[in-house]
């Protein structure tokens, strides 16, 4: 197991008396993080951020030096998913800050709490196109909840505290504080006060009672009710309430991809996740439900397909803490603004009798039998990726954390691994960031308990995008297992080219791919290569047992496609199961 010695977190807002007083803006920045119990930060050094790193020198906060700032942002993002608290990443001005941008945008799309601290050129040089100057707050304004330009050493600590609190408040998301070098070097004895989010952003946690009653009446009257759990259920720490609600009223559950783990997938009521590559039965249930009870989801187009054919028979109850998500993509007949856990409890109190839905539950079961998630393993075809995912799932505990890149491998990892716990599925959903998996595994490893396995299911294309972070895993002695489902393609693009571009495989085919097992060894990690079914289980076992980073290069069937598939903009119920149905 990795060396993990996170310092004892202080109680929020109560700095230890042994701490030396703040003397500079930088020390105030770090003090603000310490006050809030921040245990780890991910980052890369550089000129304008050096004063902040200097203040970190005496701090107990564990800093993980990443190979690239994008990796720092993804690692902090994954840390936040696993811990359900904001992750912290740091970078210098200019290229350091712009390299964070993909990770910040990723966190923004998936509502992951993230605080980015960026160095900036001294205030009097801002606007002069100084060395490594970028308008960081300008660049990141559209992809943050809010960002701050620190202007004063006396208040910079409070600003960082506010940014951290805002990242975590209500619907989580990324915030950024841009730190000019004169502010961080500036003398101050101002200790940061208790961190509080800004007054203008306070969310509503409790839904209107009358609205709750109307929605509860609709649930009682429903004949074909369906729960849709989004990532918001997990963010709100409401999986207990959500699970109890579904079971008490025996309402079938579909999740979104970020909602994976909110409800155990091996439960009879669970239909797994819906959408473009979701299960046939989940998509059939969405197509035929008469009351969709959606919790903490923003109805992304990869979930809904074409809006005009989404849940066409259903009235929609939409529970969300962000009022702007209500009726943004799908009109909510019963909007309930508030915290997922609180509103589910409110609904529970307001419902007198469970909906009578025996027939519906039987129908749902029929669909489960009609559209099982299966795959073929003919003797004359190479290793199937689905099989690899199933073996990995078998070999690990229910608490094991899976991170992924983006593409076919991500879909197989989501389809064929059976998830039962929240915060064990760590992926890039909304932004679809190839290369997320490896740095996310690093962040997840730092955040996870020692006995939780961390497995990165990656694709060859995604792995190559952030492979340099393997050096970090080796240096920090992190116990992670990378399973590369290698088809020597940008596989999802290849699948689309075959389906929609008459097989013209432009820029999706690698005519040469590195030997990842040898590359892993060169980095100092363990490397394995697997070509055949009978090597899979033993190699997985050996890699998992190795106490450090390991990479298994699975050479899988390059022709394998991801099914079911709802073509982009299509109807959920019209998913294709084979190439010729597209």
């Amino acid at each position: 197991m990795s060396k993990q010695a996170p310092p004892d977190a202080e109680e929020a807002g109560e700095p230890e008396t042994t701490q030396s007083p703040v003397t500079t803006g930088s020390e105030s920045v770090i003090r603000a993080l310490e006050n809030e119990g921040v245990e780890a930060a991910f980052g890369v050094q550089g000129g304008a951020i050096m004063p902040v790193y200097d203040a970190l020198y005496h701090s107990d906060i564990r800093h993980i030096t990443m190979a690239h700032e994008q990796g720092a942002a993804h690692a902090a993002d994954a840390f936040s998913v696993v811990r359900n608290e904001p992750g912290v990443c740091m970078a210098t001005s200019g290229p350091g800050a712009t390299n964070l941008v993909t990770g910040i945008a990723d966190a923004n799309m998936d509502s992951d709490g993230l605080l980015a601290l960026t160095g900036q050129v001294p205030s009097d040089m801002v606007g002069s196109d100084a060395f490594q100057e970028t308008d960081t707050t300008g660049v990141t304004a559209p992809i943050t909840k809010h960002n701050y330009f620190a202007s004063d050493a006396d208040t910079v600590g409070d600003t960082v505290g506010e940014a951290l609190a805002l990242a975590d408040e209500g619907r989580p998301g990324p915030t950024l504080v841009d730190l000019p070098k004169d502010v961080t070097l500036g003398e101050t004895d101002a200790e940061p006060g208790p961190a509080a989010p800004p007054e203008t952003t306070r969310p509503q946690y409790v839904a209107d009672e009358d609205d709750v009653q109307t929605a509860a009446d609709a649930i009682e009257a429903a004949e074909r009710p369906l729960l849709l759990f989004g990532g918001g259920v997990i963010k709100a720490d409401a999986t207990d309430e959500a699970r109890a609600f579904a079971r008490d009223y025996e309402i079938p559950v579909v999740t979104t991809m970020p909602g994976i783990g909110s409800f155990p997938e091996d439960d009879d009521l669970c239909l797994s996740w819906a959408g473009m590559h979701g299960t046939g039965y989940a998509n059939m249930a969405i197509t035929h439900t008469d009351l969709l009870i959606a919790v903490g989801t923003r109805f992304d187009d990869r979930l809904t397909g074409g809006i005009d054919t989404f849940a066409p028979e259903a009235e929609v109850i939409h529970i969300d803490i962000d009022p702007a998500e209500i009726s943004k993509n799908v009109y909510a007949d019963y909007p309930l603004i508030g915290d997922a856990g609180i509103v589910i409890d409110q609904l529970d109190d307001a419902i007198d009798t469970a909906p009578e839905a025996d027939e519906w539950r039987e129908q749902v079961q029929t669909w489960k039998d009609e559209y099982p998630m299966d795959y073929a393993t003919p003797d004359d075809e190479p290793l199937k990726p689905q099989f690899v995912v199933e073996v990995l799932d078998e070999a690990t505990s229910d608490e094991a954390i899976v991170t992924t890149g983006v593409g076919q491998h991500q879909m197989w990892a989501a389809q064929y691994w059976t998830y039962s716990e929240p915060r064990t599925w760590v992926s890039s959903h909304g932004l679809g960031t190839m290369g997320y998996g490896l740095p996310a595994a690093i962040g997840a490893r730092i955040a996870a308990d020692d006995d939780q396995e961390v497995v990165c299911v990656d694709g060859d294309g995604s792995f190559l995008m952030t492979i340099q972070e393997l050096s970090v895993a080796v240096r920090e002695e992190l116990d992670i297992t990378v399973a590369v489902l290698n088809n020597e393609y940008i596989g999802m693009v290849r699948q689309w080219q075959d389906a929609f571009f008459e097989g013209r495989r432009m820029a999706a085919e690698y005519n040469w791919c590195p030997e990842f097992d040898k590359l892993a060894e060169a980095f100092g990690a363990r490397g394995f290569r697997v070509d055949d079914y009978d090597e899979v289980a033993d190699t997985v076992e050996e890699a998992l047992e190795y106490d450090g980073p390991s990479v298994i290069d699975f050479h899988i069937d390059p022709a394998e496609n991801v099914y079911p598939m709802v073509p982009s903009g299509g109807a959920n119920g019209q998913f294709a199961l084979t190439d010729d149905q597209l």
Partner: protein, 221 residues
């Protein structure tokens, strides 16, 4: 390790797409469940939206950036200080269907510097200012038309005359039509600025009227 015999040999099952049961219902492009026979889409309409904001650096770019990245159709935007230090009021005229106007308000409310935001009623006090520079060949007639629209002459040179007019959009449009006969050289319109009528607060939660009493922020709705 399981032998090949243990592996599933079949592929995905189930009826083909066209053989599955399909419901008859439908939603419109705004996600609203509809009767296909009935009117399906909301028509765009004009709305005046007022936002009380903290005078943070960059607040205007945050607001305008939001409009552009979410493709909200904005006709005009004015901004100016209020009686409360560090608070500004932004007045926007937008043209969107009802769901779009609702989104604009909600997305604006999410911005950290936005204290409160709301759409103004149809009876709100609203006015626009326009500067018109016309050919100065016939100063008397220009003067007469200016008087007719309660305008003021701000500059009269040998070749051009610049007048100022205020009023609602219809009046300004009419006036511009009337001035066309002289040859309009340049024009500058501010777009609407507006306040709620009477005792009503212009934005929800605002305590109007007192300079020394801080405006009450409201929760973002």
């Amino acid at each position: 390790m399981s032998s090949d015999d243990d592996l599933p040999k079949h592929g995905l099952q189930g009826p083909a797409p066209e053989e599955r049961p399909h419901p008859e219902g439908r939603r419109n492009s705004q996600g609203i469940r509809i009767d296909p026979e009935a009117e399906a889409e909301h028509e765009p309409r004009r709305a005046v939206i007022s936002a009380l904001v903290e005078d943070d650096p960059g607040v205007l770019s945050r607001v305008s950036g939001l409009f552009s990245r979410r493709q909200f159709n904005i006709e005009s935007l004015t901004v100016g200080p209020t009686t409360v230090e560090n608070h500004s009021r932004i007045t926007m005229v937008v043209e969107e269907p009802d769901p779009g106007i609702d989104q604009i308000e909600k997305q604006l409310a999410k911005l950290k510097p936005v204290i409160s935001v709301g759409e103004l009623d149809a009876d709100a006090v609203r006015t626009e200012l326009v500067l018109l520079k016309v050919e100065g060949d016939d100063p008397d007639k220009v003067h007469a038309v200016t008087e007719m629209y309660d305008g003021q002459t701000l500059d009269a040179g040998p070749r051009t005359i610049t007048v100022q007019l205020t009023g609602d959009e219809q009046k300004i449009d009419d006036a511009i039509d009337a001035f066309r006969q002289f040859g309009i050289i340049e024009i500058a319109r501010t777009g609407y600025t507006a306040l709620a009528r009477g005792d009503q607060a212009t934005v929800p939660g605002e305590k109007p009227g007192t300079a020394d009493e801080p405006t009450q922020p409201t929760n973002a709705q």
